[in-house]
Amino acid sequence: MLWVALHLPLLSLESFAATLAGRAAEHGIALVDEHCIAAADAAAIAQGVKPGLKRATALALAPRIVLGQADPARDAEAMRSIVHAALAFTPSVSLQPATEPGRAADTVLLEVQSCLRYFGGSERLLERVRASIEPIGHSLRIASAATAQGAAILAHLEPTPLCTTLEATRRALVAAPVWLLGPGRAHWEALQGMGLRRVGDLLGLPRAGLARRFGETLLAELDAAFGRRADPREPIVPARAFESRLELFARADSSEQVLHGASILLARLVAWLAAQHAFVQRFRLLMHHETRWQQGDRTPQATALEIALAEPSRDSAHLLVLLRERLAHVQLPAPTLELALQASDIVKRAAPNGELFPTRQSEDEGLVRLIERLQARLGAGGVQRLCAAEDHRPERASALRSDAVARPSRASRNAAADATAALPSALPCARPIWLQLPEPLAERDARPLLEGRALALLSGPERIESGWWDDDLAERDYFIAEASDGALVWIYRARLPLSSSGENGWFLHGRFG
């Protein structure tokens, strides 16, 4: 068995930083728990803030620092997406329970022996694990060991050792400081007083005495780390539907601020999709607004933004572009306090092949993305497909439809054999390419005029009389006429005898483009 431990040393700081927008974090951030500083980032430490200080002292030292409340639930939420990212590599992923009560777990354990060969060795695998966690935005320490407990302990060391055999694991553990053992931290002073600094120092001591002084758990953990005791772990199964929340530190007034938080949620969504080996079909961004306690206030509690994709995807950059375009159109009724991203409509399928040269498939995919992007900005009706309809009335014979545009059918690709077929020299049906709304034409000596010049009738009449069944009766005689500049136009007049439409005179209906 080979276990890999992913340890996030700055988990709570980073999950807090994700709720800040823009450059709010540039003067340092720190987390407060029960009026004392619980964690501080490098910029804050440089100003003298360190864990354990009173809140007021920290503010006196660094007045521009951003102080946030430590929140184990927020950390657990962030940790969940790390677990999802890890699940893309192996099904047996578990969380190492936190050593201190009231804190979220910050170490994920992966059993990778079974998938090493598939990913091409542990080095490659770790590289890919790093790459997949990078977009979620957490700094990472990776250790590997032959035992789960051993890997969790070694991940706290600096630099982290990568052991593949039980022997190497034991050697690395012997040199590790004793407080890395979970229960060792509680007995830290006693252990130090007895001169026991390294884990290796405990090994030579009588086990009965150790158990009496420091409890059974210390011994159990020691044995598990050294592989002398079974250490079963319950693998985590990802939820069937995705939902992740992000409470923003400050109210977000602009869509740009919302987008910053949404990009973090999208990275989590992509991690969840990777764990499922699935692609998202539609997702929903909920923006919870500040409640106003005013009489008659009709501000909604939340604004929902539903985004449906023509082609399922798990490319966070593409999803973010779609979200940005849609957000640009949304007028937020009130400042946003909290974001939530939900997705349940997913499609499971094999991952697309990587390609060196552009192929038909990559072109189709690029086209679908282009159309989705255009639709996100222009609205669903912005991109339409032309369809022919069975009707004699020219204005009803063709229609624009906006459904299924993003899936070019490519039926004609099979007919590519006659790609060189020449145009017909004469067209069997005389219909103009451009149709306009019927435009009344002036008349002189019973001849139609276009822009003050007489039209010369060349061909016609062609009678179209249709549509008595749907109250849109057309009774027209169409002529092709030549305008003074030589262009051909399509004009009609109402059928003369018994015309029921009541329209009179000549109308311009189309132009031969």
Binding site: L367, R410, L423, R431
Partner: protein, 269 residues
């Protein structure tokens, strides 16, 4: 390669070579030097020549037009500007062979902001696969302050669209056209922009500019205002696929127009 030949000619001939041989070699070099401008670099040509850049083009389907276009067809990866006074001078029938060939190649044709509704039947007769034509309307739903040409630019930049025909708004500023031309470098296929005739007075960033006029029934007159090469002096008249019957065409050519046929109707009521 040419530089090497020139240096060799500048050097004094080796003494062992007979004089006649030297003279012959110099004559040969001179021939190379005279041939130079267009062979040196694809972007070089003499003023009276038509540019031969070796760039890929798409045949227009009209042999006489191809002969007048640099590299024998509509340029790919660059804008082709068509100027016309009003829609309906035969522009779609002129572009149809190139667009249909693109569709038969299995690639997508996109139309941006067509000036009127398109009749599917008329396009199908020209050979188009009608339900694979995508029509993009950018002006109707333009959010205030946003860029109307954004969609066109995205489509050009993506490089996945087979052919683009775009009707541009009037009085477009030159720098915006320049941006489109830059975006077209990444486009793999033909891209036509259709503009009003008055734009001819202003410079263009597109390497090809053609003015279209109706040249009588089922004919279109082209004047190539800008190309890689000399401007075309005499207008080119092309025969388009005919919508008229043979008799109607004869009638149009003879100039004798029939009187109003309305007289043939008798009001029986």
């Amino acid at each position: 390669m040419v530089a090497a030949i020139v240096t060799a000619a500048a050097l004094p001939p080796p003494p062992s070579l007979p004089l006649s041989a030297v003279a012959k070699r110099q004559r040969g070099d001179a021939a190379v030097v005279r041939r130079m401008p267009e062979t040196l670099h694809p972007d070089l040509w003499l003023g009276h020549q038509l540019g031969r850049t070796g760039a890929q083009t798409l045949a227009s389907g009209f042999a006489r037009l191809d002969a007048e276009l640099p590299d024998g067809g509509w340029p790919r990866g660059a804008l082709s500007e068509l100027l016309l006074a009003h829609p309906g001078v035969g522009e779609m029938r002129l572009l149809a062979p190139a667009l249909v060939a693109t569709q038969r190649d299995g690639r997508l044709v996109m139309l941006f902001d067509p000036p009127a509704a398109l009749a599917a039947a008329a396009l199908a007769v020209l050979g188009f696969a009608v339900d694979e034509l995508l029509v993009v309307e950018t002006r109707a739903r333009l959010a205030p302050g946003s860029d109307g040409l954004w969609a066109l630019e995205q489509a050009l930049k993506s490089g996945h669209v087979g052919a683009i025909v775009a009707w541009l708004p009037q009085r477009l500023r030159a720098e915006r056209l320049r941006r489109l031309q830059l975006a077209a470098h990444r486009h793999d296929g033909v891209a036509f922009i259709l503009r009003e005739a008055a734009a001819a007075a202003r410079p263009t960033a597109a390497p090809l500019r053609v003015a279209l006029h109706a040249g009588g029934a089922d004919r279109v007159q082209l004047r190539v205002l800008k190309r890689r090469g000399p401007p075309l002096e005499t207008p080119l008249e092309l025969e388009l696929p005919s919508v008229l019957s043979a008799t109607a065409r004869r009638r149009s050519a003879s100039g004798k127009h029939r009187r109003l046929p309305a007289a043939t109707f008798v009001d029986v009521a």
